[in-house]
Symmetry: C2
Subunit: 155 residues, 2 copies
DNA sequence: GGCCAATATTTTATACTTGAAACTTTTTCC
DNA sequence: GGAAAAAGTTTCAAGTATAAAATATTGGCC
């Protein structure tokens, strides 16, 4: 049995410890994914992220929408999309009657290329997170989903 | 009751869903921390990370040690430490009798500055993760810690 | 003593990232 | 209809990030 005093002291640091572990775990996995994407598909994590977002949106997304969805800055998306366009994986056009808004979507080549990457990516994640049993994964997901929804309400 | 078929299909995606949530949650928190560090202390997350690592090592750390601990590349640490040195927060020296190895540690000014940042940082984390109860935080921590140790063994 | 592999770090080229300023186009409102 | 605000994006400067090549130093080994 843990003393009440010890419990309180531990409460004070439980969230900080969790945060540090979240950060390190995420970084370790990202590191591994980055390396695999580079060797297997000669691409990068940000490029994959953009393509993944666009794959979910067959009608395309606006630049700002992409930026908000990926939680990265506006100008950042510009650069990544630029390189994807020059590689022929992404197409840019304009929204009807609004020459401000740019609509980006995957090209056919982009969609094909992404399909292969997504399949490999899913396998990799399943392999890398193998030490976490499906039940534990579901529990953790639920905790994080709840957290996120509370977060959204505050912001 | 969930059917066996549904359960198996869900198992296939449980880890991938968990990963996507981990990534988004971590990014959202990092984003908020970055902003607060900038406004409150005119510093950045990477600088904070380096200083936090050095604060835990009163005798200093080698560059490579720092790089491995923070899970970032070797050359990356060079740049961040360079800027911290030019701001007088970090001191570089050499290990006795080995002019290859560079030892970096916090200066007195660095230690004082970091103390203030660390206190604010701990408060922020506690505030941002408030929706997660201490018990849930401990559970999650444990899952992640177990995962990490399995990970280490594989690598 | 001198070569050579191993160790530790920096440099380089390229890409990613941010916040803020600048730019273009649209909408609002008088 | 025209000024001004708003919306959407890009540009910019600085900092962060990587992998790979280059540099410098040490230790072993003949």
């Amino acid at each position: 049995m843990v003393s009440a005093v010890a419990r309180v002291a531990d409460d004070d640091r439980a969230r900080l410890r969790l945060w540090l572990r979240l950060l390190r775990t995420t970084r370790a996995i990202e590191r591994e994914l980055r390396e695999r994407l580079a060797t297997a598909f000669d691409t990068t994590l940000p490029r994959f992220d953009v393509m993944a977002a666009l794959d979910r949106a067959p009608d395309g997304m606006m630049m700002g929408e992409l930026s908000r969805f990926l939680l990265v800055s506006n100008g950042n998306v510009t650069g990544i999309v630029e390189r994807l366009v020059s590689d022929g994986l992404v197409v840019r056009s304009h929204r009807d009657g609004d020459r401000r808004a740019a609509i980006v979507r995957l090209s056919d080549a982009g969609r094909t290329a992404f399909a292969a990457m997504a399949a490999a990516h899913a396998r990799w994640i399943d392999e890398l997170l193998a030490p976490i049993e499906p039940d534990a994964a579901r529990d953790l997901s639920t905790t994080l989903a709840t957290f996120r929804s509370q977060w959204e309400n505050d912001a």
